[in-house]
Symmetry: C2
Subunit: 121 residues, 2 copies
Amino acid sequence: MSRRNACSAEEAASREVCTVLDVLNRVSGKWSLGILSETTRGPVRFAELERSLNGISRRILTLTLRQLEENGLLTRTVYPTVPPKVEYTATDQARELYAQLTGLTAWAARHSAPAPHADAP
Amino acid sequence: MSRRNACSAEEAASREVCTVLDVLNRVSGKWSLGILSETTRGPVRFAELERSLNGISRRILTLTLRQLEENGLLTRTVYPTVPPKVEYTATDQARELYAQLTGLTAWAARHSAPAPHADAP
DNA sequence: CAGGATCCGCCACGATACTG
DNA sequence: CAGTATCGTGGCGGATCCTG
């Protein structure tokens, strides 16, 4: 995740580009969006995520969760029990961001769509 | 660009995630947004882009332009003159997409912003 | 001017094994 | 259960040289 930015002292005109890039970099992980999708529905445990996101490795899951947490998109709740229990939940910011991003499906539908006029596939 | 997707036969629930991921992958290049920013203002030549996007290499510029063109976000116009002249312009889809993406600055402002009311941390 | 070709470094991601 | 540790890999991005 966290693709390089090259946003050092840009020409002000592209200040907006830089901001958007920063935002996207926070969810640029291969699984970040999937994790947000799951956690916006309510608290989810580590193992649950591991199953929902079919194919993700423990390491990447951990790293991505940490990154999302650092960016204030996830809250991590640890229950000091045995066996341990940890729950992840999307923050309000994350919900807003996720909503904004899913708004892109509208764009995708308007374009790469298979003729949106009369006949449905 | 074009980060892997892992969107093969997902559980329908995350169909939306997949779509958004596809969209983001089309502008996931380090310079893609910058290029869109420039080309949405009007036709731009190769060398102009090379200067605007300070630090980009010719190779990456070419590759990114090609990718954006393949995704229908840019139109490439070649003027068969000597010396050659090529102009790139953002398509209408690209303008829509770019507008959607810059909408993320609003989110960024709402959050990671330094308290827009009275006391700043 | 607008690229194509080639070589290379770095980083995200993956697979596996081990632990509190 | 929820991680950490270690090793290996692909591919994006960069630098440089060459060309129609």
